[in-house]
């Protein structure tokens, strides 16, 4: 057991899998010699050599295309997109090629690959380097979508993603890189599609993801002071989605609040709300409330960005409105 940052957990997770399986390779911009712009992949080049850990040109279509081709021909590649916003420059390869190929070939082609990417706001980088894009990936059939909130989960879910026989988009949250946690030694491997109840409660279910999990937990803490018992669920992966844990919780608490960092329209919170409104409507004791970033690009100025991204205050308000 040793304290590990979320940042260092990335390299540990990759190393764990590269050590185990020689077909795991890793590429991206500035990831090898420089150890990544977020220093998440330091030491990997030294440990695994330039054949398996490699710097690429600034060519995200080539990077993701290479992942796909390599996965078709016997490797289990991991690629890094420096910022999740850059999914947009290779969205065809990700959404039209990687996601659809198994189905379109009638199951002939397997694509065991992982696209890791730094996601989310709070770093004052402005609208093109701060987006929370998990819901883009969730909307595309054929992609699995993972977004850990703790260092331990980074290792366990990354291992699960690498071992998964299907393509996984793995969102690492920039705001969490510096967070720390005691993480067990030795191999850690999770299963995808298992949400965690990170705080039990009985009055309301709060569903959150990645950097919104600590926000939800803070809100739950404050709510308990006001006598409201909030259950906080860390979804951990959006595809597969653990609707069982979610529905069990909501039918018990009768209330649901989702906390999404992404802009309002068509986020994962809407999907969850629609599932509950179809499958558990009669169990609801109050409206379903979605706390999201407003439907705006993310501003750069500190005060504005903080105002835009859901805060514990806004979560508390939302819960109090329906309890």
């Amino acid at each position: 057991m040793a304290e590990l940052t979320y940042r260092a957990a990335v390299a540990r997770g990759i190393a764990q899998e590269m050590e185990r399986d020689p077909s795991v390779v890793f590429i991206g911009e500035d990831v090898a010699a420089a150890g990544g712009v977020f220093k998440t992949t330091e030491g990997l080049l030294e440990r695994f050599g330039p054949d398996r850990v490699r710097d690429t040109p600034i060519s995200e279509q080539a990077i993701t295309g290479a992942l796909m081709g390599a996965a078709m021909n016997g490797l289990r590649p991991i690629g890094e997109l420096m910022f999740s916003d850059f999914l947009a420059v290779c969205w065809d390869i990700v959404a039209n090629q990687i996601a659809k190929t198994r189905y379109m070939t009638g199951g002939q082609v397997a694509l065991p690959l992982v696209i890791r990417t730094a996601n989310g706001g709070g770093t004052r980088f402005g609208g093109q380097h701060s987006q929370s894009l998990e819901s883009w990936a969730m909307a595309v059939p054929g992609l699995k979508v993972v977004a850990p909130s703790t260092p331990r989960d980074v290792v366990g879910l990354l291992a699960a993603a690498v071992r998964d026989p299907d393509p996984v988009v793995f969102f690492e949250h920039k705001k969490l890189f510096a967070t720390k946690q005691d993480v067990p030694d030795g191999e850690i491997v999770d299963r995808l599609g298992i949400a965690t109840v990170v705080a039990p409660g009985s009055d309301v279910t709060i569903a959150a993801l990645a950097a919104m999990v600590p926000v939800a937990l803070e809100a739950a803490g404050r709510l308990s002071e006001s006598g409201v018992s909030a259950e906080v669920i860390d979804l951990r992966s959006l595809v597969p989605l653990d609707t069982r844990t979610l529905l069990e919780s909501v039918t018990r608490t009768g209330r649901l609040v989702t906390v999404e960092e992404n802009p309002r329209l068509c986020g994962w919170g809407a999907e969850i709300a629609s599932i509950v409104a179809e499958e558990a409507l009669w169990d609801l004791d109050g409206p379903i409330v979605r706390v999201t970033t407003p439907h705006i690009p993310l501003p750069a100025a500190a005060e504005m960005e903080d105002l835009a991204i859901p805060s514990a205050d806004r979560v508390v308000d939302a819960v109090l409105r329906i309890t």
């Binding site: 279509q61 290479a66 996965a71 078709m72 490797l75 009638g106 059939p141 597969p240």
Partner: protein, 327 residues
Amino acid sequence: MSSPSASRLSMYRDMVRARYFEQRVYDLFMEGIVKGTTHLGLGQEAVAAGFVAAMRSDDLTFCTYRGHNHTLLRGAPMAALLGEMAGRDLGICGGKGGSMHLTDVTKGAMGSYAIVGAHLPIAAGAAWAALLRGTGQVAVCFFGDGTTNIGAFHEALNLAAVWKLPVVFVCENNLYMEYTPISTVIPVEHPAADRASAYGLESLLVDGNDVDAVRTLATEVIERARRGEGPSLVEAKTYRHKGHSRADPGKYRPQEEVDAWLAYDPVKIYRARLTADGVGIDTIEAIEREAAAEVDGATEQVRNAPPPDPGTLLTDVWADGGSAWRN
């Protein structure tokens, strides 16, 4: 190269099979048996035939929606290809892909891609895996002249060149995008060959209707790639006999141009050359008869085949065989 050989006859057979097959695809499209769309490579058969002849069976091909020929000649069963286009249960992708997505992984036909340019980086990736795994495979990636203007082309060529990947990029320059002449949307004469130097590569042009010439160049660049000397970009000049897709009559092309190219038909000229080189007409006609019979047989199989089982709608999104996104 001028004396008849088994492999030259085999290339003739390939071209004839491709020719007859696609003529039938066209007829069946007009009849409504083949559905959706088709993009025929009629007139371009020599490129696929010449390259396939130069490949090892474990080499990999990547092609476009206009990839019937390439997939067939790599060895995919004709009935399964036709069945895919007709949306039948015996389709090579179970009816899920359609005419633009023919794939037969068992033959190294690693897919037909319908978004222009996308498969170039994918082919580079497969070549990268071959290199790392030391398999000695070469990836061959076919695409059109119009494709040289899209971003993915540029990224793939650069990556392949700088990583010295065993991949051969083959531009089939048939002078047109869909309906627009390539010359009106590009500032160089040779869409691929004039761009090779941007990636530190040699400019390579070949007569895409001369299957011997194609095979010669193909052998050279494929073996170069196999020896670890990196990628090549080949431009093969050719022409499509039909329109871009479906029932397109191709009216945007000057009649003299069409006539000239129809006269310079790769199948016709190769037939004449083989004959001149001493191949007996019987041998040639036997090849043609066999191909015709194969096409007829495949057609019958497809006509009698049922549509896909409705249950397969929800299979094969994931490796577990299903499509569940929730527990």
